[in-house]
């Protein structure tokens, strides 16, 4: 039985695991070798997901830019300086991802701070 009005609660489901119901697939698995230099260890992931990452950052820029285009200017101008302040290996990893994806350092950092700031 499903409730047809919000919040659309329903009876507890059964047998969903066997046929992977309500799934859009399983994600690929990548190796990140911690013995490698932080600036290159994410390259394999970025090479496979570059198109999707560029699209995602583009969407974030559209949303943030709708509030004020100055925010994106500030992101590109000031956030790269802050990457140097991150503890290692995280700063170098972000720079490596930016280099591999062709996106500005500040925009990769913006993506990485989203989860922190949206707790408000």
């Amino acid at each position: 039985n499903a409730q047809v009005l919000p919040p659309y609660t329903e009876d507890c489901q059964h047998g969903m695991y066997a046929n992977h119901a309500r799934c859009a697939g399983m994600p690929p698995t990548f190796e990140v070798n911690l013995d490698q230099d932080p600036s290159v260890r994410w390259n394999g992931v970025v090479q496979h997901k570059k198109k999707e990452l560029v699209a995602m950052i583009g969407q974030i820029k559209l949303l943030v830019g709708a509030i004020s285009p100055k925010i994106i200017t500030a992101v590109d101008q000031y956030l790269p300086e802050l990457i140097q302040k991150l503890p290692e290996p995280y700063g170098a990893e972000i720079q490596g991802i930016a280099k591999a994806s062709g996106l500005p350092d500040g925009e990769i950092l913006l993506f990485n701070i989203f989860y922190e700031i949206f707790t408000v």
Partner: protein, 253 residues
């Protein structure tokens, strides 16, 4: 988000989560979906972190995101991170960090550091309860021994609460959504009641990937913000991830 640590009759622990993200970040009026959520789903990847040719730990990540929101250290512990909404939230912590006060850890960098440095449930719990962080969050932690499951409720600078699985009182799971366990969730987002109802319905005897997956597939535990479901079993070092979709009618959060 919804995170669950549960144990079966034999004391074997399972840790699972739905990762929900993208609330109020663009609504696609044509398809009735959250824009950022739709862009995040294709970015979901499993990552096997290796050192010396061996698996150090595993995680589920969004490509380009280097923090750890869902992770397993085989034969040691599991961690998931849920958002905790607060007006004194990550925005404040991030501003302080930008202004030069850098004694706090980024919340998802801390979980990665814990995966890297800690070798047991107790060590992981110690780090997650004591370190200063930038945003209030819930850390949900599972171990390898019976009863090792807890929800750590964190303020930015201090520990607010630890809800541990009390097996002597007959408890066999801990469950966390995005609200403090000592308060009632708001009426418009009570996924906790639905998830608990389904966990209690499936019962301790039936605990395993299939039963927990069923719980995390039931609306509104599964909702329009759900990007993926991850299932972990620490002894076997198993991590299974499923990219999710929520067929209409489906609640927006």
């Amino acid at each position: 988000c919804t995170s669950i640590v549960a144990q079966d009759d034999a004391g074997k622990l399972y840790h699972a989560r739905n990762l929900d993200f993208g609330l109020f970040m663009g609504w696609d009026v044509k398809n009735h979906t959250w824009l950022i959520t739709e862009y995040l789903r294709p970015l979901v990847v499993n990552v096997n972190f290796t050192r010396g040719g061996k698996t150090a730990y595993k995680s589920v990540n969004f490509a380009g995101y280097i923090g750890l929101l869902t992770g397993i250290k085989p034969n040691a512990f599991t961690i998931t991170l849920n958002e905790r909404f607060n007006i004194d939230g990550g925005f404040v912590g991030m501003l302080e960090w930008i202004m030069g006060q850098r004694d706090g850890h980024w919340t998802s960098f801390l979980t990665r550091t814990v995966m890297d440095k800690a070798s047991s449930y107790d060590e992981a719990m110690s780090m997650l309860t004591k370190e200063v962080i930038l945003a209030p969050v819930y850390y949900i932690v599972g171990g390898v021994k019976s009863g090792e499951g807890a929800v750590v409720t964190r303020d930015r600078t201090k520990l607010d609460n630890v809800m541990a699985m009390n097996t002597t009182a007959g408890e066999w799971y801990v469950l966390e959504t995005n609200y403090d366990n000592w308060t009632n969730p708001p009426f418009f987002d009570d996924r906790r009641a639905d998830a608990k109802k389904c966990m209690d319905y499936s019962g301790k005897k039936g605990v395993g990937f299939p039963s927990i997956f069923d719980v995390l597939s039931t609306k509104p535990v599964l909702n329009q913000l759900t990007t993926y479901t991850a299932l972990m079993q620490v002894n076997a070092g198993t991590l299974e991830t499923y990219i999710r979709e929520c067929p209409h009618p489906c609640y927006p959060w």
